[in-house]
């Protein structure tokens, strides 16, 4: 790494806080709403930056465990095998894989989402 601090995560965080504390409060409703969307987007970038490595590694392990073949341990293959009927809908292991991978995605995209909160309680 040749770059100095602040790290990219720290830069994203400070912009997000600036929008939240100094910009949003001074805007009319419809622009405050759009600014909130911008803040949400920056927070996704921040969470993905922080967790990408571990989430990708865990997902790879889950898929490897299902397929037993490193060349097949990816999302595209999983989608294809469901579509082609190579994985059956009543396969409990498949269902568990879908649950676990989806939880990882939403934990970055929107960890406050009601269904996710319910499922991790």
């Amino acid at each position: 790494m040749i770059f100095d601090r602040p790290t990219n995560a720290e830069l994203v965080e400070v912009v997000s806080e600036f929008l939240e504390k100094e910009i949003k409060i001074n805007l009319p409703d419809h622009l405050a709403f759009k600014t909130q969307i911008a803040i949400n987007v920056l927070n996704i970038v921040k969470r993905e930056q922080q967790n990408e490595e571990i989430l990708s590694k865990e997902s790879k392990e889950i898929l490897l465990n299902l397929f037993k073949d490193p060349n097949k341990a990816n999302i595209r293959e999983l989608a294809k095998q469901i579509e082609m009927g190579e994985l059956k809908l009543d396969d409990k292991e498949l269902q568990e894989v879908l649950i676990e991978i989806t939880k990882k995605k939403i934990s970055v995209d929107n960890p406050k989402y009601s269904t996710y909160k319910k499922l991790i309680e």
Partner: protein, 327 residues
Amino acid sequence: MSNDLQLKIEEFLLKSGKEGKVSELIPLTGGASAETWKFTFSDNKNSEQLILRKGSGKKSPLAVLKSEEAEIQQKVRSSGAPVPEIVAISSDDKDLGDAYLMNLIPGESIARKILRDKKFSEARKKLAFQCGEALAKIHSVDTNDFSQVPKKPIRKELERLNLTYKSFNQPLPVFEYAFKWLNQQDFTTRKDTLVHGDFRLGNLMIDESGLAAVIDWEMVSIGNPMLDIGWMCINSWRFGQSEKVVGGFGDLEEFLEGYNSISNEEINHEEVKIWQVLGTLRWGVICLIQVYAHLNGDINSLEKAAIGRRVSETEIDLVDLLFLGGK
């Protein structure tokens, strides 16, 4: 521009037998395929608030023309469902183009306000029953009158959704699962009816006593009536109030009770679940359509870009419904 429009509306209303002045013409945010304006119309006796809905004039295969939308609303209104009264319909470019004028129904359409403001606390208690009643009335309208309404049999709709999803080349295993699962369901038990197509908070005008009007008919079709039932019951429209299955404000029992007070169709919870899966998947594909409109460079938009990361909300709802006893 709005001055021009003002004169055009006055001229058009005069042709329709209403002489008077247009004032306070204000644009309202509307759907992507239509402009919506609010204005006051005064003759020498009264003044009233009216709405102008104006389309681009282009016939899209998925949406009806504004003039058709107005005719449908007129017929639905005569079934007793709460729908704004149509004042005049234009289909000529010399008039207002593809457009119509209707009475403004006072009320709130913003979901978060309806779900949280004290003002609507009485309304919220009655709303699920009223929505059920209104839907049953909409579904009872004689569809023989509607040669212009697109027919969307559910198998064809699923195929179309699947092709749309595939066109983005973004593999989503949960969506693949849901498509496969839905293909195994039996959709033959119901006759096709008029379907609103986007029946949810946002497209309902609510006042202190409950449902005042069903608006935004641009997704109307002839298809399976359960589409409207399931759509109203997906978690995407509960805005965080997920324990209230119907729109974040009501229980399924009250909603179906309202429906059955008008209709003789028996609907059980298992069947609703199938349509919740379908509705959630449908919203997920709509999110994909929106984000790819941005990514393909058709429309540069923060909102559309952000919605791409809401696809996983529909995925978690799908796995919850399908595997984890979600409601």
